[in-house]
């Protein structure tokens, strides 16, 4: 799966859970500072991403995924 496809599907998860328009979920955006996503929603997003992409996102890794691009790169590296 190309990074663009991961990004697109991750954006859909973010929209479903946090109500941020998928088009606004772009690689440079910070989940917390730009997209206003709280820590509770981040856990939900991580669980759905794990199911969708078949990867594990341990808590200490999740804490490092500051931006959408961080998450896309992490998922791509673990698939």
């Amino acid at each position: 799966m190309a990074n663009e496809d991961i990004e697109k599907e991750l954006a859909e998860i973010v929209e479903e859970i946090a109500g941020v328009a998928a088009a606004d979920v772009t690689p440079e955006k910070s989940f917390v500072d730009d997209l206003d996503i709280d820590s509770l929603s981040m856990v939900e997003i991580a669980v759905q991403a794990e199911d969708k992409f078949g990867v594990k996102i341990p808590d200490d890794e999740l804490a490092n995924l500051k931006t959408v691009g961080d998450a896309v790169n992490y998922i791509a590296s673990k698939r």
Partner: protein, 410 residues
């Protein structure tokens, strides 16, 4: 206490009779029933002996934005819906209200039991990682109050009384006390409940407290009727905006009624059964009258708690006779609404306020043969036009909690 007056300037509700106050009031006046047969699969699967309830007329998810709704338990959703209505009805704005002088008090009987049940099911069947990180804020009984407080930016305090079926009335009483003590100028107060789930249905059924009139749900809730056989479980929310009278006057607010007095007491008798002599109830009623400074002769109407249970309905009328007299005209809104548990006292206070405001008492739905133990004048059949100087709402809860509120015409 202080000489501060408290008035009601806004109301919001979502109930089995309608998605707002106007539709609920119309349903009450018409003596309509909000009870319906449940179509949940678990009713048959678990062989629940009660197969109906008074479910919401309008689903809160149809009113709230999707993302907001999915972060809220159903009990929190209905609280938010009612709060938005009450806030708009009072024509208040978060831009102009001093947040440090605004409080929120929303009671609930049971809290986020929908979330508790569904998340426990996920934990048991799909494991730890499927449990929502929002589980705790969705199931905590202060959740409805906390979410309304957040939505309005209230900073004078957010509280959540839990006293079973008296919770909503207790919240309004607490609001009155906060304004009277000088802690707040505005309090958004009431109750929220959404507990039509297998475990509560089963628990109430095992206690033999619910009607089992499964073939005729609309006629199952029949307060004071000789054929009553238990209460009908309902869900919903009701919130009122209470204001310091001078604050309301200064901004030219429309006033529905004055909340003149609040009385509370506890039975110390039995965990679920009401004292057959209604001593505790009579003490709450007497305290409310004393606090209000209203002459008992002026209390022309009591909007009663009467839940349609064989043991509960008649003692309340004894308490009314003892503490007010033989003159108040009674009605029991649970014939129409069902029993909204922690929301009931708040929704029924709204009905009481509207009775004072419009001079109109809704009928007790399904009252055909009055229990001979009741010697007071009870409205049944059609609504009755009566000019009211003052009216009372009574609410009582499992645990022996008694609350009486006196509203006067403004």
């Amino acid at each position: 206490m202080s000489g501060i007056d408290v008035v009601v300037t806004g109301m919001g509700a979502t109930t089995p009779l309608g998605g707002d106050v106007a539709a609920t009031w119309d349903g009450l006046l018409a003596g309509r029933s909000g009870a319906r047969t449940l179509d949940f699969e678990w009713v048959a699967r678990l062989d629940i002996p009660v197969r109906f309830a008074a479910t919401l007329a309008v689903e809160p998810t149809e009113v709230l934005p999707r993302v907001e709704a999915r972060r809220l338990d159903r009990s929190e959703q209905v609280a938010i819906v009612a709060a938005q209505q009450a806030w708009q009805d009072a024509e208040l704005s978060t831009d102009t209200v001093d947040a440090d002088r605004l409080a929120v008090i929303v009671g609930t009987g049971i809290g986020g039991v929908n979330t508790l049940v569904t998340q426990n099911e996920l934990l048991q069947t799909q494991g730890m990682r499927k449990v929502s990180p929002l589980t705790v804020p969705m199931l905590m009984p202060n959740g409805p109050a906390a979410h309304v407080g957040l939505a309005l930016g209230a900073r004078a305090g957010v509280h959540a009384p839990v006293s079973a079926c008296a919770s909503g009335a207790e919240a309004i009483g607490w609001g009155w006390r906060m304004i009277r003590s000088g802690e707040a100028d505005i309090v958004v107060a009431g109750g929220a409940e959404a507990a039509i789930v297998p475990i509560t249905m089963a628990g109430f059924a095992q206690a033999r407290t619910m009607s089992t009139r499964n073939d005729d749900p609309e006629h199952a809730s029949r307060p004071w009727d000789t054929g009553r056989d238990g209460f009908v479980l309902g869900e919903g929310a009701g919130l009122v905006v209470l204001e310091r009278a001078e604050y309301a006057a200064a901004r030219g607010a429309r006033v529905y009624a004055r909340l003149a007095g609040v009385g509370t007491s506890s039975d110390a008798y039995h965990i679920t059964a009401p004292d057959p002599q209604a001593i505790g109830q009579a003490r709450a009623i007497a305290a409310a009258i004393r606090n209000s400074g209203v002459d008992p002769a002026d209390i022309g109407h009591v909007n009663a708690h009467a839940t349609s249970t064989p043991v509960g309905d008649v003692p309340e009328t004894l308490a009314v006779r003892k503490s007010i007299g033989d003159h108040p005209i009674l009605t029991a809104p649970k014939g129409s609404l069902g029993h909204l548990l922690g929301a009931s006292g708040a929704v029924e206070s709204i009905a009481t306020i509207l009775s004072v405001y419009h001079g109109l008492i809704p009928p007790t739905a399904n009252l055909e043969n009055l229990d001979p133990g009741v010697t007071l004048d009870v409205v049944s059949g059609e609504a009755r036009k009566v000019r009211l100087a003052a009216a009372m709402n009574d609410s009582f809860g499992f645990g022996g909690h008694n609350v009486a509120l006196v509203f006067t015409a403004f």
